[in-house]
């Protein structure tokens, strides 16, 4: 399928309870619409029991708004938000496993690493692991430069992001729920 011109990369963040099957509940919403997830990451948050998914997908806004509504409808999901790249600061980490014997003769290696803002995580006689965080085109650029040294493995973490907004919507939501809970319990 060739993407239509109105297609763009969206980032969806999903805040949920930390429970079995949550990822499946979310992913089947994409499956049903034949939407291919570009990358997905899952992690804990600083909030007790709250988990977070970050998903990127190429699509159009109308489809994405409906998808986010369906995600938010799932019982175990607290909130889901839709962003484009303008709304967020985002980053990903890449790891490169390179042949140490080939690297050792490279006089410009230090320059390459410094130039790309990367760092060496581990060196063994057999392989060296380099880490770089950045945007996909940046990690891609380093990959291109390292190719002559036999990149044996290359992996990206997938996107993580924070919003540019000055309002923390989830915190506000949780505060509201706390008030709702008190009301219900006082009505007992």
């Amino acid at each position: 399928m060739t993407p239509a011109t109105h297609q763009q990369l969206f980032t969806i963040t999903v805040y949920s309870e930390h429970c079995v099957g949550l990822l499946n509940q979310v992913s089947i919403i994409f499956t049903r619409r034949c939407l291919n997830i570009e990358d997905v990451s899952a992690s804990r948050t600083t909030l007790e029991g709250v988990h977070r998914l970050t998903i990127t997908v190429w699509s159009d806004r109308e489809t994405m708004e409906k998808v986010v509504a369906q995600i938010e409808k799932r019982i175990d999901v607290l909130r889901a938000f839709l962003y484009t790249d303008d709304d967020i600061i985002y980053q990903e980490i890449a790891l490169y496993k390179v042949d140490t014997r080939k690297l050792i003769d490279e006089q410009y290696l230090e320059n390459i690493i410094r130039h790309h803002g990367a760092r060496v995580l581990d060196i063994t006689p057999d392989f060296t692991v380099i880490e770089k965080s950045g945007q996909p085109w940046e990690t891609e650029a380093l990959l291109d430069q390292l190719r002559p040294y036999d990149v044996r493995q290359f992996v990206r973490s997938g996107r993580v992001c924070v919003t540019k907004s000055s309002v923390e919507v989830l915190d506000r939501y949780l505060d509201e729920q706390q008030i709702r809970r008190h009301k219900i319990e006082n009505n007992k």
Partner: protein
């Protein structure tokens, strides 16, 4: 000190704590501990043994739709659970509260392809409101509390509890507390006063307002508020299929049913309305036709409890996220008393053309009996006061068109999923829920045979369902489409049927076959008067078709009155002649 009991006992006590007195089910290996405990609770918790698990869930749906209380199903693991899938999907589409409890193999066997193991949670997540696997006895009471809270609140729906055998056999200290709060789920949103004021202003300034009332009105019990609002503001009302009985059929403002086979007035005039108040409807494609041409002259106000329905199928001008009753109750004082007589009259003009052209032909047919006249005869015999349960297809559309209603909560039919075989077990559940009401089931010869085994359930419990099989020895609705759109090539629609009366009599169920018009009234009277279940096998004309019809994906103005004639509004007709 709290009493120590098994998980199976706790499950039964939890059901009783939720007010359950009737469950539908079928035993099997992985749910045996529960059935063993059930044996000691027979006095308080009645179990209805169906003949197939699909029958159990449709019966539970019928029960739930008749009472607005969750229907409960107990089945075993593997095939038992897999057999309720159709019903879960149906219940999700039609917002029906159902709690399914399925046995599961022991926790240590999970993932091993153990005998009768299937991934119930994985399979049911896309077609349930919520599904959970329970592996420990001590988790059972809280899981049941959560299941019932979720099934019946907000937009109701089906939930699944998949209970591993160890959890049934293990012990816990008995304690039960109903659930009232989940931080990620708010089932009763607070109505925004600003939204209501804005909606009222739109309605007050409208020249041609129209109310579309759906299943949500019935679920929230807002029938009285709907009528009050419509009467005060003088607004005509159209209902969806599932919303049929939210207003008495003969109410002067009830202008009929929307949809592919709905009434001409509400369908045709949707595109002339300037403000539409849609309450508890989801703008299903059978209602809208081609959405690019749907209600383009109208600003739509959409009241729904499910925010994900807003702007999902149709773009609307104003959304009100609320329970229908909450919203309507608060909207009534804000709307002006008004009348829109010229506008309302247009509905009657449309509907009188339908009466002359379509209904009178259906009801005064010379040849073989038609479906419409059979349904009309039954409706009159019960004084339009019965619960209508239908199967799916022509029988359903004809019943929706020719059965009349005087009381709310009187239509039970598979709307969204269109599940053939739904009707007979749903009628059993409805009759058990409402033993004091007459329950009339209409099915075709096709759908009737999809769950015909439930005649065994009717026999065992003496469930006094009035069953009318509209028998044309054809899969009639498909036949209609084949005749209209596939050059009358009747591919795999003729059916050779057994003698349904002989089958009924094998189950000890009284029956009668009707082939001629002269016998109809007497047979219908006998069926309704009989104290017990009764099967009426009526031979109807196979060429009978449901009209009016808006072909799938068509425009609401493009209404077929029969195969060759389209509806024209009288003004236009005059214009065309000039």
């Amino acid at each position: 000190m709290r009493e120590r009991i098994t998980g199976a006992e706790a499950l039964i006590r939890s059901l009783e704590a939720e007010g359950v007195d009737l469950v539908f089910g079928y035993p099997g290996g992985a749910i045996l501990p529960v059935y063993d405990r059930l044996y000691d609770h027979n006095d308080k918790l009645q179990h209805v043994l169906v003949r197939h698990e699909q029958g159990a869930i449709h019966a539970a749906q019928g029960y739930a739709r008749a009472t607005n209380r969750p229907g409960v199903v107990i089945v075993t693991s593997g095939p038992g659970a897999a057999n309720v899938i159709t019903g879960l999907s149906d219940a999700l589409m039609d917002s029906t509260p159902v709690v399914v409890i399925s046995g599961q193999v022991g926790a240590r066997f999970l993932g091993s392809d153990a005998f009768q193991e299937t991934d119930v949670v994985g399979i049911t997540q896309p077609i349930t409101k919520w599904a959970l696997q329970v592996r420990r006895a001590e988790d059972i009471p809280a899981a049941v509390a959560r299941a019932f809270y979720l099934a019946r609140t907000g937009r109701p729906g089906p939930v699944v509890l998949d209970i591993a055998k160890d959890a049934q056999l293990g012990e816990l200290e008995w304690h039960y507390e109903p659930l009232r709060f989940i931080r990620s789920y708010n089932p009763r949103p607070v109505v925004s006063p600003a939204d209501l004021v804005a909606a009222a202003e739109m309605l007050n300034s409208a020249q041609r307002p129209l109310i579309l009332a759906g299943h949500g009105v019935m679920i929230s019990g807002a029938e009285a508020e709907l009528a009050e609002l419509a009467e005060k503001a003088g607004i005509p009302v159209a209902t969806t299929l599932l919303g049929l009985s939210v207003m008495p059929s003969d109410h002067p403002l009830n202008k009929g049913m929307l949809g592919m086979h709905g009434n001409i007035g509400p369908n045709f005039l949707t595109n002339q309305a300037d403000v539409i108040l849609a309450v508890g409807i989801r703008f299903d494609d059978r209602v809208t036709g081609d959405t690019d041409f749907y209600a383009k002259n109208s600003r739509i106000i959409h009241i729904d409890i499910d925010a994900s329905e807003f702007n999902r199928n149709v773009k609307v001008a104003k959304t009100i996220h609320a329970d229908a009753q909450d919203a309507l109750r608060q909207l009534i004082p804000l709307v002006d008393s008004s009348r829109h007589d010229n506008w309302t009259e247009r509905f009657d003009i449309c509907n009188s053309i339908e009466a002359d052209y379509v209904k009178s032909r259906e009801l005064n047919h010379g040849g073989l009996l038609t479906m419409g006249e059979v349904i009309d005869a039954v409706s009159r015999e019960v004084d339009h006061d019965a619960v209508l349960v239908t199967d799916v297809g022509q029988n359903q559309m004809m019943a929706a068109r020719y059965f009349s209603f005087t009381r709310p909560r009187s239509i039970i039919t598979s709307g969204g999923l269109g599940t053939m075989g739904f009707g007979l077990p749903a009628a059993i559940g409805a009759k058990m829920a409402e033993p004091g009401r007459t329950v009339c089931y209409f099915g075709g010869d096709g759908g009737f045979q999809m769950t015909i085994q439930e005649l065994g359930t009717i026999m065992q419990y003496g469930t006094a369902v009035k069953m009318i099989v509209l028998n044309n020895n054809f899969l009639g609705n498909v036949r209609q489409w084949q005749e209209l759109f596939f050059n009358s090539r009747f591919s795999q629609t003729p059916m050779v049927n057994p003698d349904f009366c002989a089958i009924a009599s094998a189950y000890g169920i009284k029956s009668r076959r009707v082939e001629h018009r002269e016998e109809l009234a007497d047979a219908v009277a006998e069926m309704i008067a009989f104290d017990g279940p009764f099967l009426l096998d009526v031979l109807v004309d196979e060429t009978d078709k449901v009209f009016p019809m808006i072909p799938a994906g068509g425009h609401l103005e493009n209404i077929m009155l029969d195969k060759d004639t389209h509806f024209v509004y009288p003004d236009n007709r005059q214009n065309n002649q000039q």
